[in-house]
């Protein structure tokens, strides 16, 4: 069984984010594997393992030929990667990203399943996987909190507001997984060494046969008109607990008539 996993490479979420003068997100520093996608990679490795054969291929779209996040996922055990890197993709919206990923999946070879995370840590639009499924004309199940494969069918517990839905789809299909579905492994030393020589095919928009005018800023169909600081909330009273501060809380709640 072959699984394609979408992995986004993002600025370290621990660093404060910043915008470029044209309002796009600054992503020129070193990028890392989005933690959300480490669950997809782990899930793919486990499914291939259970199926008793096949491989995991990564697809990613990232600026400046960035591969560090891909190397992390390769070190976990993925076999190979397709990276789309092209200046024309600056400012790409979710739909454009999905179009690029759809074309990249086409370079990944035969597959039974495409995995993605439900939302990325930096963009968190949460629409790319479902758009990708639509472009690939695949059935899809989003927000998976458990994934199993048997007899050419993927069975999923899909997170809902009220609990979860039991869903299934025939393969090939696309599934997006939530954080916590599986415990992502740490790359072993051997894995890290092996990852260095695993194939990463880097392609441009033109290599994919896409028109640079329709993906990226030019084709995004959206225009940022303003960025401003949000109104701040004022801090109130801060007191040191002297053993009796609970009284203050009781009085405060009393004043609001919630007791």
């Amino acid at each position: 069984m072959n699984v394609v996993v979408c992995v986004k490479q993002i600025p370290d979420p621990a660093d404060p984010g910043a915008l470029n003068p044209d309002h796009t997100l600054k992503r020129d520093g070193k990028l890392i594997l989005d933690e959300s996608d480490s669950y997809g990679v782990e899930m793919a490795l486990q499914l291939v393992d259970k199926a008793g054969g096949g491989e995991v291929t990564l697809v990613s779209m990232a600026p400046n030929g960035e591969v560090s996040g891909l190397r992390t996922a390769l070190a976990m055990g993925a076999a190979k990667a397709v990276l789309v890197s092209d200046d024309a993709l600056k400012g790409a919206g979710a739909l454009d990203t999905a179009k690029v990923l759809a074309a990249a999946v086409g370079k990944a070879g035969e597959y039974d399943l495409v995995l993605a995370a439900t939302e990325s840590s930096d963009g968190y639009t949460g629409t790319v996987p479902e758009q990708l499924a639509a472009l690939l004309d695949l059935p899809s199940i989003t927000f998976a909190k458990s994934v199993e494969i048997a007899d050419g069918t993927v069975k999923v517990q899909r997170q809902t507001e009220a609990g979860y839905d039991e869903c299934e789809a025939p393969l090939p299909a696309l599934v997006s997984v939530t954080a916590g579905v599986v415990e992502p492994r740490y790359p072993s030393f051997k894995g890290i060494m092996a990852a260095k020589s695993k194939p990463v095919e880097t392609v441009t928009v033109a290599d994919l046969g896409l028109d640079a005018g329709i993906v990226g800023w030019a084709g995004a169909g959206q225009e940022i008109v303003d960025v401003a600081a949000a109104p701040e909330r004022e801090a109130g009273e801060v007191i040191e607990d002297d053993g009796e501060s609970f009284q203050k809380i009781v009085a405060f709640l009393d004043g609001l008539k919630v007791l």
């Binding site: 472009l135 997170q159 009220a162 299934e168 959206q222 303003d226 203050k248």
Partner: protein, 321 residues
């Protein structure tokens, strides 16, 4: 400039009623558009009265599709209706599981962008939506520049639902189309987790715990306090990820947005991703042993202290009343 017509997703709860978020969006839709209609992946007659009261004049309904996934089928049906000539200026949905799926499928069918996670929409000069970034510290306004229906999803609690007393909406069919291979996913069974007490995103009081509680067992204090205040317990992602409480408790960017009368944060540092989900609360009480904790920057009452000392005393005091 008001819009001529918008469509709002009437999302259904497992009981078949209209989800609060859809009623919230309806209130805003009335403000920006002359005509407001809803669409739903389910039975239209059952909700005609409710959505009518909230200002919708028509329900476009697919009829029962409870054995299918909403995104692909409702998305395709909407696209077919729009391509058939019945195009609204905007299609507005909640940033929910099904809302995002429908918006995504529709955006591909129409080849139009979708903008998600919005907290406001303005139509004075084109259709412009607002999104909070960097944990709600900055607001980005983005204009739809592609023409055709603008597709946008909104965070819960962005608007306040309000009845207008309108008559029941007219029910019309939203014709399903063959979704081909993509339509093959099936929904077999729904599991509804039983919860007692008010829902986290509807409760007037929310008591949330974070890593400062020290260990999973100490979350009992949070639950007890929440119960005494007839509120709901909530959590930071740190303790959800640690497996102390289920994901449905999480407040923040990747969890729920809450705006209760009182939010009590115990042992929570106040990371921007947490605060974006609770800083709209009317009153905030924070208990944290670190006087530098960012949560104090937005708290109306901040207690610099140990949760293991303050909470038990608070619980005792409330019990004694």
């Amino acid at each position: 400039m008001a819009l001529s017509k918008v469509w709002v997703h009437a999302e259904l709860t497992p009981e078949g009623t209209v989800a609060p978020i859809s009623l919230e969006i309806l209130a805003k839709a009335r403000e920006i558009s002359d005509v407001v209609e809803v669409f739903t992946g389910g039975d239209g007659a059952a909700i005609a009265e409710t959505v009518g009261k909230h200002g919708a004049t028509k329900v476009l309904a697919t009829g029962d599709i409870s054995d299918k996934l909403q995104g692909v089928h409702v998305g395709a049906a909407l696209a077919a209706a729009i391509e058939g000539g019945d195009a609204p200026d905007a299609v507005l949905l909640g940033t929910t599981y099904d809302g995002r799926d429908i918006a995504a499928r529709l955006s591909v069918k129409l080849d139009k962008p979708v903008l998600t996670n919005n907290t406001d929409i303005d139509v004075a000069d084109g259709i412009v939506v607002s999104t909070q970034i960097f944990g709600g510290t900055q607001i980005v306004k983005t204009k739809f520049a592609a023409g055709g229906p603008a597709i946008a999803t909104f965070r819960p609690k962005s608007f306040v639902a309000e009845e207008t007393g309108g008559a029941a909406a007219e029910v019309a069919e939203l014709g399903l189309v063959d979704a081909g291979a993509a339509g093959a996913a099936k929904l077999l069974n729904r599991h509804v987790e039983e919860t007692s007490g008010p829902k986290l995103d509807e409760a007037a009081v929310v008591v949330s715990g974070g890593r400062g509680l020290g260990e999973a067992g100490k979350f009992d204090m949070i639950e007890e306090l929440a119960k005494m205040l007839k509120g709901a317990p909530g959590a930071s992602r740190a303790i959800v990820d640690a497996g102390w409480v289920p994901y449905s408790y999480q407040v923040g960017q990747t969890g729920k947005v809450v705006k209760p009368t009182v939010y009590i944060a115990a042992g929570i540092s106040g990371a921007t991703q947490h605060m974006v989900g609770m800083k709209g609360s009317k009153n905030i009480v924070a208990i944290n042993k670190d006087p530098e904790a960012p949560i104090f920057g937005i708290a109306d009452l901040g207690i610099v202290g140990d949760v293991h000392k303050v909470l038990p005393k608070l619980i005792e005091a409330l019990k004694a009343r």
